[in-house]
Symmetry: C2
Subunit: 293 residues, 2 copies
Amino acid sequence: MKLLSGKEVSQHVYNLLTDRIETLKKKNIIPGLAVVLVGEDPASKVYVRSKAKRFASLNLFSETLVLPETTSEGELLDLIKRLNKDSKYHGILVQLPLPSHINTDHILDEILPEKDVDGFHPVNLGKLAQGRPQFVACTPKGIMRILDYYDIDLSGKSVVIIGRSNIVGRPMSLLTSLKTQGANATTTICHSGTKNIPEITKMADVIIAAIGVPELIDESYIKEGAIVIDVGMNRVDSPERERGYKLVGDVNQKSIENKVAAITPVPGGVGPMTIAMLVENTVEAAERLSKII
Amino acid sequence: MKLLSGKEVSQHVYNLLTDRIETLKKKNIIPGLAVVLVGEDPASKVYVRSKAKRFASLNLFSETLVLPETTSEGELLDLIKRLNKDSKYHGILVQLPLPSHINTDHILDEILPEKDVDGFHPVNLGKLAQGRPQFVACTPKGIMRILDYYDIDLSGKSVVIIGRSNIVGRPMSLLTSLKTQGANATTTICHSGTKNIPEITKMADVIIAAIGVPELIDESYIKEGAIVIDVGMNRVDSPERERGYKLVGDVNQKSIENKVAAITPVPGGVGPMTIAMLVENTVEAAERLSKII
């Protein structure tokens, strides 16, 4: 069984970005990201911190704007409008989830599509669906990059995606089934309404698990020689560890290691790619907004 | 075998629209559609004429703007901008295909999403993908309406769509797999890159054929008791007919009639629904733009 290391691929991505960042710097452009964090969600704080750290390590500019939990939708919309106009931010990211009194769609719809480095704006999702992607959501984009790095061509393969979230499953189903290099798969999307998931996944050449249920997918879901992408990142109690929990995927990796051809580990698989693609999208935004590409 | 009559369902749609049209008229609003036709494509002319006829028969306003084949992209963009601002048009439809010197995406992207009654603007496709549809493309929307009319609930069913066009297959795959009433299917999208289409369609409870190949789908593609939606509308030579051709679908309907539970005929199946949904979308646009709904 081959381990598909997102850690390795993300390093490769950062290496490739160095030249592009240099080119921008020569034109006095430093790719910049505004991260908007509303409230005190502990997991969100961790994510935001690791994004900021990555940007700093690449000498890119990022700024985290922290707003109180009580921020109103109108105040947040005003902030987005200001960030849209501010040329030092090439990308804008609103950390989700937002407090429940704020309509997330209203906020994400307000982000300028040209600065939507998360790829969550409907116009960016729509362009992806039409086969002319501009900004693609970071996790699905990162998964395609892993496959590409390890020479796994999806063309003619059957791909089954478990999960239809707007952030992973849905864009993944679009990406894999487009008539483009490396994609062109026959894609099925399974979800909570699917009656016989193992029956369906058992026919898949490639399974992409993005459901958020710890270690649900075991050997009964998988055919011999399949490739498994484990998008899950679930905290489960682990009293023997100092921090009290460990991270596991949606796949029971131990149970399938003798059956699959390749798998992305957790951690070190899909996870590192999400931030790498965020960086890449921000560099791309800076290039596009500066008309370098 | 049950025939799923789009002719019957479209009549039902028109009946339901009467009250809404009346309500608008009482407020001095007549739903209006601008149809833009560039060039002399004979099939396009037929389509445009039948749309205009339908609008007239319902006492709705439609105007066909005919431009010469030599119209430049810039000229067409200017026209769209003018139509966007003109309040007598609630909907704008650009008849496709456009001449090859015009970039279709540039034109469709310019249509105000609020007037995009064809549902082709990326923002409308994106919102559909996100499960909050605004304007949905007429043919896929019409197919869902047929299924609803005949009490065919897709939830928990396996749906296989053949064809990934932006106009039918792609939005159809989104619509059927959304977590909404009547949908919630496990959807697979097959296309030119799929190796074993009959193997896949044979497991489907519902098959939606939208490939544009006359009578390709025969009994070898279908499991006993399946429901088949035939989106094809292909002209094949028929010297014995006065007009020299006949219309056939993508399904060899004779060959499967003893095997399937239900099928949409051609003509009289999906076809009439496309115009019915165009009318409905235009009425909806008028209601929304007038803030009645």
